[in-house]
Subunit: 404 residues, 2 copies
């Protein structure tokens, strides 16, 4: 008689963004004349860059002809893409990553959900609070998080690192020693970052404690300040303690095109065992590569035109971020983020909870955002707006909020 | 101090196809003048069908324009594709599958590797011997297979169902009751199939034992005989015991394009819990959809032109299968498969082991195949050839083998 993985039943309710979707749907049905502006989900709106489109067409034509048709891709991904990544994302920043330390995948969500598989089930994880839900949920599914305590909104066996206004929404080093530390900078949802000296402290801590850092750098392309590191490997000693996750979703608009990569340096070991080898085995056994045409499109992001065009897209979104940040600040809101990230984190006015402010904003301004409490208990009383809308909509949304 | 998932260390040596790759590479380097013909790995060689290429171009153009650009895809996949699947793969065969029972993914390898996650770690699996290695390896990584016993080439806690010449390479019902049964028909590697009455016995057995069948139907498009079922849901009662895996890799040449789907009927439950809900949660948490342009390409497979063109491709490969089967039979080999599947399974001549025959064929005929023993102990003394080469190469390979 088969049994299910009971850990799944411990997961609380439904996913944040489906709850939002239901509320918005109900409101739209009751108010069909209202024009809703969505600054909630972190999905891009600009079309793919011309260089990427050209590469997709070209690669498609290759798939149409016997001589250039591509079947199964190499396990780790095509060398042309891994070479472009090593050169452009790392070598230019003085970091030496070899191409067999780079694993091409279909998304940072898959990678951040799957990476826990190569670790022992008794390892203890530490996460920021608030945090992107996938880190905790994927560990909960594996049985690494104990019991969910609804009254606290927390799991019994997870180490939470509060990110509060007092610390500029950066986490403090945990008091209990974790085995696996999830860090995400620039941060989703708060939009906060830490500088190189601060990140170095985390690397030193991890090396000393024998912990591994899973460093989610999906938003690195939005960094505008000089001393904010783009890669954790800019820190001394990171290669012996850190795995880095990267994505093409936000820097090149690939949310619906699906491409990402994970870096695992060969120096990162548990005893004699390289985590690189374990991930290679996982990749080779439970994954069969990213489509050739998508990898070709990814390589186009690193061409001169690709770089220029995707930089323009990021500038467009960051201009939206400026509109939101400055507009809300002028209207008297406490705001942070939006300088090195496409997310603006604001304190709800009065004593409103995150969901009360969500309802208020939806009803009074017809603007959709994301309740901070959906990312963890310390997100309560906060709210996330994203810069991924159109300029016109962003401007109008802020005008509406200002008028409240 | 972090620890690794020790189950990974129990996995024996390297992957079958990388061993083959190394041997072929060494031979090619030592004999640069020899023309090697590869009938080993199950990778397609024909380019994508024109209807698919057109759809890729069209979808790429949509991604270039703001108004038709697509960001994150719906969790389960686009409705247009799931509707086409429900209509064409199921309704036409009298099977009623709703679109929320269909989950679009990036490949049957991912699905067959990941599906075990929703089951209890103490569940016991049963597999055919020989078998596609991913079923066992993914369960071994999760810790469900006990210890690997090198002298037997088996795992201590796996129920093996031998597929021998006596039973036409079909498995017999297991003697010990399993919780999860992996079946693959048309079979990889043997190319064997079972008819509807025989499959019905498995469904009845599973329903009675409270076992779940994971039915890999990746090769269903190659079925040529009338009474061989294309879907397990053609059998009475299959919806309460079976999950079906399908792929676009072999029926439409998507090995390098990546598209597949899994069907989990809502009737399939453990107590009150629908496996459909668990997989939906897994899909929503650890996966972010297949690229829009690839899903659009998949839908093109179901158009009238798409169907005609992909049928022609299959006919091309099945003609190769005929060449191999008849050619080898004429040369005195014992052969099976190749009628409802692109794989031909042959008995090695004399008392050669599978690897001895591999070396012999490589050296004397410069033909690469796959040693049957690589798929399990009962594959010893057998050898797999695939029909996925070009017609010209297939013809030449068989001529060379005949001359030995």
């Amino acid at each position: 008689m088969f049994k299910i993985n009971e850990n799944y039943l411990k997961l609380p309710g439904s996913y944040l963004f489906s709850d939002i979707g239901k509320k918005v749907k109900a409101f739209t049905e009751a108010n069909p004349d209202k024009k809703i502006i969505r600054l909630g989900i972190g999905d891009v709106t600009l079309p793919l860059a011309p260089a990427v489109i050209d590469a997709l067409h070209k690669a498609t034509d290759e798939m149409a002809v016997k001589e250039t048709f591509k079947g199964y891709a190499p396990d780790l991904g095509y060398e042309f893409l891994r070479t472009a990544i090593a050169e452009n994302d790392y070598k230019t920043r003085g970091v030496d990553i070899t191409i067999d330390e780079i694993f091409i995948s279909d998304g940072a969500k898959s990678d951040s959900g799957n990476i826990q598989e190569i670790f022992d089930l008794n390892n203890k994880i530490a996460v920021c609070d608030p945090v992107y839900p996938v880190y905790v949920d994927s560990n909960a599914m594996a049985g690494r998080t104990g019991e969910f305590l609804p009254e606290l909104g927390r799991w019994s066996e997870v180490i939470y690192m509060p990110c509060t206004e007092e610390s500029n929404f950066a986490p403090e080093l945990p008091k209990v020693e974790p085995d696996i530390i999830y860090l995400c900078f620039p941060n989703n949802p708060t939009g906060s970052t830490i500088n190189k000296a601060e990140l170095q402290k985390w690397v030193d801590y991890a090396n000393k404690a024998g912990a591994v850092i899973i460093y989610d750098a999906a938003y690195e392309a939005y960094i505008s300040e000089e001393d904010v590191p783009h890669s954790i490997y800019e820190c001394q000693g990171a290669k012996t303690c850190a795995i880095e996750l990267r994505s093409f979703s936000k820097n090149a608009g690939f949310t619906g095109t699906r491409l990402a990569f994970t870096v695992i340096p060969k120096e990162l070991k548990c005893g004699d065992v390289m985590l690189n080898s374990l991930w290679a085995r996982r990749h080779g056994t439970k994954f069969n590569g990213t489509p050739y045409i998508i990898q070709a499109a990814g390589a186009a992001v690193y061409t001169e035109e690709g770089k220029r065009q995707t930089k323009e897209q990021i500038a467009y979104y960051m201009n939206n971020a400026k509109v939101i940040r400055e507009g809300l600040a002028a209207a008297g809101y406490h705001v942070s983020g939006g300088v090195n990230a496409p997310y603006i984190w604001l304190k709800t006015p009065g004593k409103m909870t995150s969901w009360e402010f969500f309802d208020y904003l939806l009803k009074e301004a017809n603007v959709v955002g994301t309740p901070g409490s959906g990312f963890g208990p310390h997100g309560e009383g906060y709210f996330r707006l994203t810069a991924f809308g159109t300029y016109e909509n962003t401007l109008e949304a802020i005008e509406r909020i200002k008028k409240l």
